[in-house]
Symmetry: D2
């Protein structure tokens, strides 16, 4: 599928950093879904650089919907969203010396030297704007049937944010708050320390990475299509398409490596007649299928590869070693801007999995459909 | 795709723990690939229980190839491998009380009560035997073109194995050795400690988890189909289909959360004219495409859910809380038996990605094809 | 997808004419669908040779269900059906001289000489038994929600059967009757003439082809996923997988080539408040989507390639021209035995398209689901 | 896949007749393929209305390539082509009374009343411009490796064109000539009669249909992926996505219904050491795989549904019968404009099938790749 993802709802990406536009085609949407320009714009603005801790490249993201929307609603035919590139400075980029940790070298090999190398071409973070535009349709759709998604910067430059609450109501408030924040953390204090640390790294022409954590509330039990289309399989597949993500864990994750079954297992209990689990170490997924608890996962975001310090590298055109100092515009940390991207990817995957489990109308009818035997 | 995976080479799984058989259909194999019964049997035997640290359920894995092989070679048409279930004891399993961390409850919801619940049905680890049978064809195929895969138990019950070497030759010896071991660790001493710890947990009717780490040598640069079919996306998708895997990280992974770009980036250098990286924190993948370095990743394997201790749970038939003590046969640790499964899944994914990049003949021709401009 | 077909319900075929077995894996079935051995056996028996007009190779079709069925119902996990080959006579087949109109030569080229050539290998009509086994599950499922499928031999050896009625009730009786007949024609008289003509061709060591026509009643309006997954696109794709089918037309088809729009268009009218069309030249499909009228299509079935007369051909091993007389066992006409295959393929495609449009439960709930706004 | 088609090369369509634009995304192209604006423009111009026999709606087709092309060549990443709609007159279209033989009613049911009904919305022939734009890249690519595609109007309004020659060289000249013609027929005389007949129908506010026939030369043997991805299956699937196509036949097709095997079979012979068939009744395809002979197929194109005469229909909003006279702009015959669409669809399918068989480089290397054992 290469640049397409999804079984019943499919998102196809296109675009390069310095080409005319980036964008996506979203196919298979339930006819009648509201497409709200304000929501798309708001989500895109959460991804935009805001301050010294982000890249100075400012893109207005004046997207255009080319198809599939009529009278403010999805028709059910493909929606093409185009986001023109307006602020491009190709002069900043050299061809030849591979930027370490970037796709310059691998793209050159894969595409036999025909790649559009300007600004990283198709491998630029710029393309995530198209994912976010799709999220601007699918996140509100999920919200309207009671499913909410939030992502926070759980760890950055050695500073840890407060954790998601295990109480579902508190968690829902945390998610709500995160979705209004420019720097999505639960503890403002931790956020200030992180911002300072990112700033410090930037001053030293360096970059930082971190861990972002996501929680989803309201997903019904029974979603996911094992073996291969387990919820973990689908989510991780889509999450790893984001260049900076190099690790994905569900629930407790790697830190539970030394746990025992008696501690790790999540006992089932009844809560007012509803089956819930006392703990949620499995991140709301058993056997690849949602169990009705919040879906939780974390993603390791590697430090931004572009740094302003001299680095050893190879010029793959001339096959010789070189020293490279990157001058272009870049983010000293991606953890902030990646949050709406992860929310969007999550929404795309879950909307698709819901439609597979319950049919296309589920995105309009929600509970009314999954709680009936129809 | 549900129980099928792959773009050009597709594996479809079927079977339940206590049904007549488990198995798989492998489609799209390069005609002429050798199918060696000994190799399949050897790999299946590495997955079989061997001692007190594994389940007492012994399955002879007398697989039968029903199609697609002629004169010891793949014809190019689908290979169906059937592995009969011979040693089933359905009486051990109750229907109603959900085993915590298992798929009992979620399968019951998803399949509307029609699931084959005996022994976990389609969610049993038994189905991984079919993956391993597929691996028994694809691992030797990759070996024959110079690609080697090895997995070790990097951490279990708090004990750490020695790490994979950063020296490629040493790494290749480590891989070779691992593939002959019943308990795949690099350091025998660590292995003995782990075995003892697993045994101890077993005595206490408990289970342990751990982290397994995989390395792949010999994969050429240029493999992977971003955005969505990045190598990380494809590998993680398939790896998470294994029920016990709850985390996947490439290269350095989560432990690098507080690294800076200047440290994390892998500088390119020339090694006798070949482009390599000095470190390999990105696990051999840049921008979703292989860079010619070893592919490395780790998987977090949760503690076996089945434990012999009383656990709180809900009987979903009667909608009431219950105490459950699991008596069936189960593994106190999956980390050992999961290694050949992970090797097999890795081989399936990489063989498919190679064919996508270079055409079907690559599995026979290897270097001769990817080093030519044809 | 090669040997797999379908979006939400997927059928994967495997097997060779003279290998251990043929079979299929059906994934994505609605949990709870009844799997009735009698129905499968009955449909398989309709495909079996019955008399001098068919091949003398008799296969008992003692299929085994290896997975996915529990207590007589589909669990929702993959159903693998294996049909052992019991009556194989490989000695009848030569390797080298390509049988004209068969896949001998093309398979030899495609599979680089590694094909299982015995009895046509994977290209044998024998594999259609696996399609019919799948049909044995899906046809009754569709029947149970009011959708009926029937195929008749509309033309064979110059003899024409009576046409399907344009009256829907009469059509439904015709379909019902066809499904009980060994030689599926509407007019018994035409059938007798056809049988005689087939017999005559057989006596002359020759074969005949024909046209089979299919009608489907009860499919609701709104099924089909244009552009590409139009009902015509999906049905034709699957129908052309049957080796002997070389033409597919919907509704009036090619004979309307010289029609004018004013004659060909199907006017909409109301019939007791239901929107219907006065004629059905479009075969129940407008713009790739069902319109609630019977789906009708015809398939051109080429004369059986295997004939007992000497034919010119090339021995592709020795690269020389040769005369070939085929001695193996074969059918002088496929039109009879192809009917249950076409019914099965149609059921597979329509069941999948229904699930895509209305969700998996539609195969159990039918009207109750597609007539609600849920 | 809905609006996407292809396994290794994928085309995704979007757009509505009266929305901002139509277009497509082509993914998986071989890096380095030449993208020639003149070729795209030339092919688009062959699809444009030219005279009284076509619709008066004139669209300049000022397409823009938004991504995936760099320095005049495909980079290998997705190419998005956008073709703005400039000449739209929505006032011409009513909502409510279903135009017979159009998708108005079925789209209304399928999309629950949310469809963009203006000008047929997503079901307008306008969307075929996007297919032709894709053809403008893939047809020249195939040409460059020796594969040529041509389509003629074989029959229209009772008038028959001369047939494709059975001599391959003559056939190649015919194809070459057809690709330069505005009204693609082999016999100019037949063409003039057809034009006159179309004109006459138009005068009578009526429309005509016909049969178009396509020939492809230069495709090597061994292409196609049975069972399901037979060449016939793939081609028909894509061809039936074109709204007006209601029948597809390969080789001799339906007219051979009464043929015998001894006549229909295509004997293999040697022609200067090359395996060829004496006749080509199978249309160059045996068992779903190309045999090296020209691929030939015909498509039945139904009469344009839009006619200027009063027709009976149902107003589906008011659920009452109505008389409808269509005033909008439309073609009295689609057979002319459909030819480049069919060529394009054919090129898309064959390019994809070639890449599946031989790997992505085949579109650049052609013979050099398929004639080697690499």
């Amino acid at each position: 599928m290469k640049n397409s993802f999804g079984n019943n709802i499919t998102v196809t990406l296109f675009g390069e950093s310095h080409g005319p536009a980036v964008g996506c085609v979203i196919d298979g949407l339930t006819p009648g879904l509201i497409v709200n320009d304000e929501e798309i714009a708001k989500l895109l603005s959460r991804r935009r650089p805001v301050s010294v801790i982000d890249t100075p490249r400012q893109e207005p993201d004046n997207y255009r919907i080319l198809s599939g929307v009529f009278n403010g609603r999805a028709t059910g035919t493909p929606i093409c969203i185009m986001i023109p590139n307006e602020n491009t400075k190709s002069g900043d980029y050299n061809f030849g010396p591979a930027r370490p940790s970037h796709a310059d070298y691998t793209a050159h090999i894969k595409y036999n030297g025909f790649e559009d190398y300007r600004g990283g071409g198709h491998f630029s973070g710029r393309i995530t704007a198209a994912l976010v535009a799709a999220g601007g349709i699918l996140i509100p759709a999920l919200n309207s049937i009671g499913i909410n998604i939030g992502t926070h910067i759980a760890e950055c430059a050695g500073i840890q944010d407060e954790s998601f609450s295990e109480n579902e109501e508190t968690l829902m408030s945390q998610i709500k708050a995160l979705n209004t924040k420019n720097f999505p953390v639960i503890s403002e204090e931790a956020g200030e320390k992180m911002t300072a640390a990112i700033h410090a790294a930037s001053e030293e022409h360096d970059s930082v990475g971190g861990i972002v954590r996501t929680a989803v509330t309201g997903l019904p039990a029974g979603v996911g299509e094992p073996w291969f289309d387990s919820l973990e399989g689908l989510l991780s597949h889509a999450l790893f398409s984001i260049g900076a993500v190099k690790g994905v864990e569900f629930g407790k994750g790697f830190e539970a490596a030394n746990s025992r079954g008696s501690v790790f297992n999540d006992p089932f209990v009844l809560d007012n007649g509803r089956v819930v689990t006392e703990s949620n170490n499995n991140g709301g997924i058993n056997g690849g299928i949602s169990n009705g608890m919040p879906i939780t996962f974390g993603a390791f975001v590697k430090p931004t590869p572009s740094i302003g310090r001299p680095q050893k590298t190879v010029n793959f055109l001339e096959q010789k070693e070189e020293e490279l100092t990157i001058h272009g515009r870049h983010d000293p940390a991606i953890v902030r801007r990646i949050c709406p991207v992860i929310d969007s990817v999550t929404a795309i995957v879950l909307a698709d999995a819901l439609v597979t489990a319950f049919g296309p109308r589920v995105l309009l009818k929600g509970k009314a459909l999954w709680n009936t035997d129809l």
